[in-house]
């Protein structure tokens, strides 16, 4: 079996979404459920096993509510695993130095850079990507606000911007303009769509407060 789907799917992705379907088809070659976890199985106080250079380690990532148990090399970033192993290409590659925000995802509900996170470090964590904000074929609230406010030009930075906004609004449901600017400071937009991006975040906050 490719995936151990015994976990309940997250409320945002009931059943098999289009993305989820593509994902589960696309990862057949690398998903491995049976391999014993090399690193996470060690009980505290005993010496953990070292994954040798060039070796693989089994991790379990809950991505958009779906559990993927797979082998990864310790040097693989979460960004690489999401895009190239799980086919979730909504998360973008920019600088790979923690400077641009294109790769922003939520880890346990908080915005982080997938390029600066090793996949082995995300073992057991709950990861939400831009695909995970969809409800079936419908855009999530923050995504819809970005579309409504024309908060992009080329759109490359948009998934990262939306995830940063999502994280901000979970901590601060009614941000001021200044708090929006600070909250979005880790995401660059090459096209300079900032004014519209900030408006979209404010709109998303409004919509969410109305329970949408």
């Amino acid at each position: 079996m490719d995936h151990d789907n015994t976990d309940k799917p997250a409320p945002a992705t009931p059943g098999v979404s289009r993305r989820g379907f593509i994902t589960s088809v696309g990862t057949g070659a690398i998903g491995v459920a049976a391999a014993a976890s090399l690193v996470s199985a060690a009980p505290p106080e005993t010496q953990a096993d070292v994954v040798a250079a060039g070796g693989m380690s089994s991790v379990s990532l809950v991505v958009n509510g779906r559990r993927h148990t797979m082998l990864v090399e310790p040097r693989w970033s979460l960004l690489y695993v999401l895009r190239d192993r799980l086919g979730l290409t909504g998360t973008k590659i920019g600088c790979e130095r923690g400077e641009c925000g294109a790769c922003t995802v939520l880890i346990d509900g908080k915005a982080r850079y997938a390029c600066m996170t090793l996949a082995v470090e995300a073992d057991g964590r709950d990861i939400t990507t831009i695909e995970g904000l969809m409800t079936g074929e419908e855009l999530g609230t923050t995504q819809q606000a970005f579309a409504d406010e024309d908060a992009f030009q080329c759109g490359y930075c948009t998934p990262g911007q939306v995830m940063a906004a999502e994280s901000l609004l979970r901590v601060n449901p009614s941000p001021t303009l200044d708090e929006i600017r600070q909250g979005m400071a880790g995401n660059l937009c090459r096209c300079g769509a900032y004014a519209h991006i900030f408006k979209a975040v404010a709109k998303a906050a409004d919509l969410k407060r109305q329970g949408r």
Binding site: P74, R75, T117, L118
Partner: protein, 323 residues
């Protein structure tokens, strides 16, 4: 793709210390600086020892002496949001709040922030500079607008951390541990000038870990603040900054600690200025004198003389604001 390395997730502090005892091992906390350094070949790693799951090293708790104990794995975001820190150690809360970006604050730890490598573009670039074991500092005669004006010599980096100057000003202590045992080091003694050792920024021995940071109880009436000047409003490292503590008794300065960021290879303490103002009434005249004294001994490079004026302004303004 990064070079391959062995990887181990430590299950206990003992385990981490054992795994780090040997050549080629690197500590991974949040990874936000380590991964950048590995990607840019600034550092190599044969083995990455992750301490990220050592939950005992996370969190802020009261210390027996009335101060606070901050676990090295506490994230910068948690530090910035902690009410006790904001109330009693404002300089640290303010410094944490202006570190990097929200994403990096969610992931980066205070231990990693103190141990991060410098941002000099020659060091991070393809130059075999003094800090990488070469025999030349390319900032001398190079592009040096963001480099040091104090404490240079063999190398002119500035220390990149915002939390470090705050911890020095607040007289924090760091607890270090290695296979050889544990020791306490005042934050001020943790950092190392290039003339002592141009290849490392701190006193950590190979394989040695920072496990916690201890803030002393706050003296009654002490106020503190951190001010950072950066080239743009979103994330950026300090061009210059200042952590300041001030304790007043009646209308006189009873105690003060002034530590600059962004201008030297270590958090740069202005002891002469502290001496000047302690015991005095802090009026406009004395503030101007303090600001002038702050830059005595500055040695700007070709492109960073603006930092001299900047420091003068930051010191004068900071004293006035906190009074």
């Amino acid at each position: 793709m990064l070079q391959t390395f062995a990887y181990v997730r430590a299950g206990s502090l003992n385990d981490a210390v054992k795994q780090l005892d040997g050549p080629g091992a690197r500590v991974h906390a949040g990874g936000t600086d380590l991964l950048g350094c590995l990607r840019d070949d600034v550092m190599s790693a044969e083995k990455v020892v992750s301490i990220s799951r050592l939950d005992d090293l996370r969190g802020i708790t009261p210390a027996a002496d009335g101060g606070l104990r901050i676990g090295a794995l506490t994230t910068i975001a948690d530090l910035a949001a902690h009410p006790g820190i904001a109330e009693k150690y404002a300089a640290l809360a303010q410094a944490a709040a202006v570190v990097a970006s929200p994403q990096l604050r969610n992931q980066g730890t205070i231990g990693g922030n103190l141990c991060q490598r410098p941002r000099c573009w020659y060091f991070r670039g393809d130059y075999h500079c003094t800090r990488k074991g070469g025999d030349m500092c390319y900032a001398i005669g190079g592009e040096n607008q963001y480099h040091a004006i104090f404490g240079g010599g063999a190398c002119w980096i500035v220390h990149p951390s915002d939390t470090a100057p705050a911890l020095v000003a607040l007289d924090a202590k760091l607890r270090l541990i290695s296979a050889k045992g544990a020791r306490m080091v005042p934050a001020e003694k943790f950092f190392v000038l290039p003339d002592e050792n141009a290849q490392k920024e701190n006193v950590l021995a190979p394989g040695e870990l920072v496990t916690e940071i201890l803030l002393p109880p706050m003296p009654a009436g002490m106020k503190s603040a951190y001010r950072k000047v950066r080239a743009r409003g979103s994330w950026d490292f300090a061009m210059a900054g200042m952590a300041l503590t001030l304790t007043m008794k009646a209308d006189k300065v009873a105690d003060a600690r002034i530590v600059l960021s962004g201008v030297a290879p270590i958090p740069w303490r202005l002891q002469a200025v502290e001496k000047l103002i302690i015991g005095q009434k802090l009026d406009a005249k004395l503030m101007t004198k303090a600001a002038d004294l702050a830059v005595v001994g500055a040695k700007p490079l070709e492109q960073n003389a603006y930092k001299v004026a900047m420091v003068r302004g930051i010191v004068a303004e900071g004293l006035e604001k906190l009074l």
